[in-house]
C-alpha cells in the first residue's frame, strides 16, 4: 500500500465514508456551539458591566491601539482565507498546495500572536494590565480596570485557542505529509478548518467590543 493511495481510514463503527465525514463535521459543529457558550458567558458579563459603566468602558477602550487592533483583525482574516484555500486544495487532491496553504495559515497565525503579545506588553508598560500593576489617572479607576480585566481574560482565552489551533494545524500538516489526506478522505483538515474559522469569528466580535467603542470621544 504505497502512501499515494492511502487506505481509506474507515473506522470500524461506520458503514460508509460519507457517514464518517458527516459525523466528523457534525461533531466539530457541536463542539463549536459549546465554545460559543463558553465565550458567551464572558460576552454576557461584559454586556452587563458595559451597561453599568459606559463611560469607564469607553475610557478604557480609548487606551487601546486601534492600528494594531485592525491590522490584527486583517491578519486573522487572511489566515482564515488561506485555511479555506487549504481545505479547497485538499478537496482537489493536490497535496503540495495543501502543505503551502497550511504553512501560510500557521505563519499568519503566528504573526497575529506576535502582534497580540506586543499589545499586552504595551499595556503592561503603561500600567493598564489589571491586578497589582494597574493604576490609572481616570476618575473611577476600579471600573476602567474592569474593562481591562475583561479585555485580558477574553483575548488571552482567544490566544489560548489560537495555540490549540496551531497544534491542530501542525497535526494536520503531519498527516498530509504522511499522505493520509486524500480527495476522498479529508476529514482531518476540514475539522481543523472549522475550528480555525471559528477562532476568527470570535476575534471578529472581540474586535468589535474592545477596539471600536473608544474611537469616538
Amino acid at each position: 500500500m504505497s502512501p499515494e493511495i492511502a487506505p481509506l481510514a474507515l473506522h470500524e463503527q461506520f458503514a460508509n465514508p460519507e457517514q464518517q465525514r458527516e459525523t466528523a463535521s457534525l461533531g466539530m459543529w457541536i463542539f463549536i456551539v459549546s465554545e460559543m457558550m463558553l465565550f458567551g458567558g464572558l460576552f454576557v458579563a461584559y454586556t452587563v458591566y458595559r451597561m453599568y459603566y459606559p463611560q469607564a468602558f469607553t475610557e478604557g477602550s480609548a487606551d487601546m491601539d486601534i492600528v494594531l487592533g485592525s491590522v490584527n483583525t486583517a491578519v486573522l482574516i487572511c489566515s482564515s482565507f488561506t485555511m479555506a484555500l487549504a481545505v479547497h486544495s485538499a478537496q482537489m487532491g493536490s497535496r503540495k498546495l495543501v502543505n503551502i496553504f497550511l504553512l501560510a495559515t500557521m505563519a499568519i497565525g503566528c504573526v497575529f500572536l506576535v502582534i497580540k503579545f506586543t499589545e499586552y506588553y504595551k499595556h503592561y508598560l503603561d500600567h493598564k494590565a489589571p491586578g497589582v500593576w494597574f493604576d490609572s489617572a481616570a476618575a473611577n479607576p476600579g471600573k476602567v480596570e474592569l474593562f481591562f480585566v475583561f479585555y485580558f481574560i477574553m483575548t488571552m482565552l482567544h490566544a489560548l485557542h489560537m495555540f490549540v489551533g496551531l497544534g491542530l494545524l501542525t497535526f494536520t500538516l503531519l498527516r498530509n505529509l504522511a499522505g493520509k489526506i486524500t480527495a476522498e478522505y479529508y476529514n482531518t483538515i476540514e475539522v481543523t478548518g472549522l475550528y480555525w474559522h471559528f477562532i476568527d469569528i470570535i476575534w471578529v466580535f472581540l474586535y468589535a467590543i474592545f477596539y471600536i467603542p473608544g474611537l469616538h470621544p
Binding site: 459525523t23 457534525l26 457558550m37
Partner: protein, 541 residues
C-alpha cells in the same frame, strides 16, 4: 493458553484481559464500567460526608465537628455528589453502555473521545481530591461571591479548576451521544421507533453541551479573581455578586435537569418492560423530554427570588418555571397510565421505578411551592429546599440509577442478581429515604435555614428523625454493592433476555460481544411493540 480461551465464551469482557486492555479500551461498554467504578467510589465518599453531617446535626450544638469543618463537609458533599456522581451517574455508565446497543450500532461515534472523557473526568477528580486533601473548600457547592473570591481562605481555585476540567468530560460525552443518536442508528430505526431512553439521553446531551461551558467560564472567572485580585464579582472593587449568581444558575438549573432526565430515561425503559405494555403516550413523553431540556434554560432565576433581582425578571422566571412543570407532570401521568392495565411484575427494577415515580412526584410538587414567588420568600434557603432537591436527586435519580443497574445487570454481567435481597435493599432505601428527608420539609416550613452547623433546640426532634433515616438509607445503599459483586462471580447465568423486554440490547447475548451485534439488526417495529415481538418473546396476551 490457547485451549483455555476456546472454552471461555467470546464477549467484551473476555475479548482482551489485563489491566492495560481496560485502561486503553475504546469499547463503550468497558468505558461504561470504568465510569461505574469511579462514580461508585465517589458516591460512597460523598455519602460518608453526608453521614458525618447528619451525625453532627443529631444535636443542636456543634459538638461532633467544629462549624468550619461542617462547612467543608457540606461543600465537599455537594461538589462530589453533583459533579462526580449525579451528573455522570446515568449518562456515563448506563448511557455509555446502552445507547449504542439500543440503536443497533457497533460503538459510539467517537470511541477515542469517549475514553478521553473518562481520563479528563479522572483528572478533574484528581484535582478536586487534591483540594479535598489540602483541607477542602468551605464555600458551598454554589461558590457564591464575594465569599468564594475574597473571604474564603480554602482551596477554592483548585476545586474550581477540578470542576472546570470535569465539565469538559461532560461536554465530550454529550457531544458523543448527540452525534451517535443522529448518525449511527440501525437501518429502519426512525426517530419515533427510538426507545425513550435515547430521547431522554439526547435531551440530556443537549443540556450537557449547551450549559456546561458557562459553568467552566464562571469558575474560571472566580479563579482569575482570586489569583489576580481583580474585582469581577467583588463589589468593593466594582463588581456585582448578583451577576455571578446569574451566570452560575444559568448552568446549574439545566444541570439539575442533566441529573433527573437520565433518571426519567431509565424509568421509561423499566416501566414498559415490567408491565409488558408499550409506554403510554410515547410521543408525549418523548417531546416532553426535549421540552424540559429547552425550557430548562429559561428558568434559572427562581434560585434568586430573594437575591435582589428585579421584580419583573422574578415574575418572568416564576412563570417559566411553571411552564416547565407541565412536561414533568405529563411524564408522571403517562408512566402511571402505562402501569395501569399491564401484566405487572414486582421485580426490583420495577420497585425502584415505582418508587421513583412516587418520590419524583413529591419532589416536583414541592417545586411548585418554590416556583410561587410569594411562597418562595419564606421557604428558600431553608431545609424545605434541601428536601425538595433531595427528593428529586436521591429519590429520583439515585433510585432510577439503582433500578437501571438492576434492570441491565443481566446484560452487563451475564448473571442474575439475587431477587430476594435486592427487593429488601430497595425497600430499605425507600424507607430510609423518606425517614431522612420528609422531616426536612417540616423543618424548612418551620424556618430552619440550610447550612447550619448549630440550630435552635426546637428543631431537635425532627433532626434526630432525619439522622435515623440517614443511617437506614446508608445500609440500603451498601447492600447492592455486596450482592451485585457477589452475583458477578457466583450468580446464575442470565439468558439474552431474562425480562422478555423489547429493546434492541436484549437481542444480543449477555454479556454482549465486542461489537454488540453479529449482524446489524434491521428494525421494523415500534419502540415497545410487544404485539410485533409476541412470538419471539413467547408471550401470550
Amino acid at each position: 493458553m490457547q485451549a483455555a480461551t476456546s472454552l471461555v465464551p467470546k464477549n467484551y469482557l473476555t475479548e482482551k484481559q489485563g489491566i492495560l486492555s481496560w485502561l486503553f479500551t475504546t469499547d463503550h461498554k468497558r468505558i461504561g464500567i470504568l465510569y461505574t467504578g469511579s462514580i461508585t467510589a465517589f458516591f460512597f465518599l460523598g455519602g460518608f460526608f453526608a453521614l458525618l453531617m447528619r451525625l453532627e446535626l443529631l444535636t443542636p450544638e456543634t459538638n461532633l465537628v467544629q462549624a468550619e469543618t461542617y462547612n467543608k463537609l457540606f461543600t465537599m458533599h455537594g461538589i462530589i455528589m453533583v459533579w462526580f456522581f449525579l451528573i455522570p451517574s446515568i449518562p456515563n455508565t448506563l448511557g455509555n453502555f446502552f445507547i449504542p446497543m439500543a440503536i443497533g450500532a457497533k460503538d459510539l461515534a467517537f470511541p477515542k473521545l469517549n475514553l478521553l472523557s473518562w481520563y479528563v473526568f479522572m483528572l478533574g477528580a484528581g484535582i478536586t481530591i487534591y483540594a479535598l486533601c489540602r483541607g477542602g473548600v468551605d464555600t458551598g457547592w454554589t461558590f457564591y461571591t464575594p465569599f468564594s473570591t475574597s473571604y474564603s481562605t480554602t482551596y477554592v481555585v483548585a476545586a474550581a479548576i477540578g470542576i472546570l476540567v470535569n465539565g469538559f468530560s461532560s461536554i465530550a460525552t454529550g457531544l458523543n451521544f448527540i452525534v451517535t443518536i443522529h448518525k449511527m442508528r440501525a437501518p429502519g430505526l426512525t426517530w419515533f421507533r427510538l426507545p425513550i431512553f435515547c430521547w431522554s439521553m439526547y435531551a440530556t446531551s443537549m443540556i450537557l453541551v449547551l450549559a456546561t461551558p458557562v459553568l467552566a467560564i464562571t469558575l474560571l472567572m472566580v479563579a482569575v479573581e482570586r489569583l489576580a485580585q481583580v474585582g469581577i464579582f467583588d463589589p468593593a472593587l466594582g463588581g456585582d455578586p448578583v451577576l455571578f449568581q446569574h451566570m452560575f444558575w444559568f448552568y446549574s438549573h439545566p444541570a439539575v435537569y442533566i441529573m433527573v432526565l437520565p433518571g426519567m430515561a431509565v424509568v421509561s425503559e423499566i416501566i414498559p418492560a415490567f408491565s409488558r405494555k408499550p409506554l403510554f403516550g410515547y410521543k408525549a413523553v418523548a417531546f416532553s423530554s426535549i421540552a424540559i431540556a429547552v425550557l430548562g434554560f429559561f428558568v434559572w432565576g427562581h434560585h434568586m427570588f430573594v437575591a435582589g433581582t428585579s421584580v419583573y425578571s422574578a415574575m418572568t422566571f416564576s412563570l417559566l418555571s411553571y411552564f416547565i412543570a407541565v412536561p414533568s407532570a405529563i411524564k408522571v401521568f403517562n408512566w402511571t397510565a402505562t402501569v395501569y392495565g399491564g401484566a405487572v411484575s414486582w421485580d426490583t427494577p420495577m420497585l425502584y421505578a415505582v418508587g421513583f415515580i412516587g418520590l419524583f412526584t413529591i419532589g416536583g410538587m414541592t417545586g411548585l411551592f418554590l416556583a410561587a414567588l410569594g411562597l418562595d420568600v419564606h421557604v428558600t434557603d431553608t431545609y424545605f429546599v434541601i428536601a425538595h432537591f433531595h427528593y428529586i436527586m436521591v429519590g429520583g435519580t439515585v433510585m432510577a440509577y439503582l433500578g437501571g443497574v438492576h434492570y441491565w445487570w443481566p446484560k452487563i454481567s451475564g448473571k442474575m442478581y439475587p431477587e430476594g435481597i435486592a427487593r429488601l435493599s430497595a425497600a430499605t432505601v425507600f424507607l430510609g429515604f423518606n425517614l431522612t428527608f420528609f422531616p426536612q420539609f417540616i423543618l424548612g416550613y418551620l424556618g430552619m435555614p440550610r447550612r447550619y452547623a448549630a440550630y435552635p433546640p426546637e428543631f431537635h426532634m425532627l433532626n434526630v428523625l432525619s439522622t435515623a433515616g440517614a443511617s437506614i438509607l446508608a445500609v440500603g445503599y451498601v447492600m447492592p454493592l455486596f450482592y451485585l459483586l457477589w452475583s458477578w462471580k457466583y450468580g446464575p447465568a442470565a439468558g439474552p433476555n431474562p425480562w422478555r423486554a423489547t429493546g434492541l440490547e436484549w437481542k444480543t447475548e449477555s454479556p454482549p460481544p465486542k461489537h454488540n451485534f453479529e449482524v446489524t439488526p434491521v428494525v421494523t417495529y415500534g419502540a415497545y411493540d410487544y404485539e410485533a415481538l409476541k412470538e419471539e418473546l413467547q408471550l401470550v396476551s
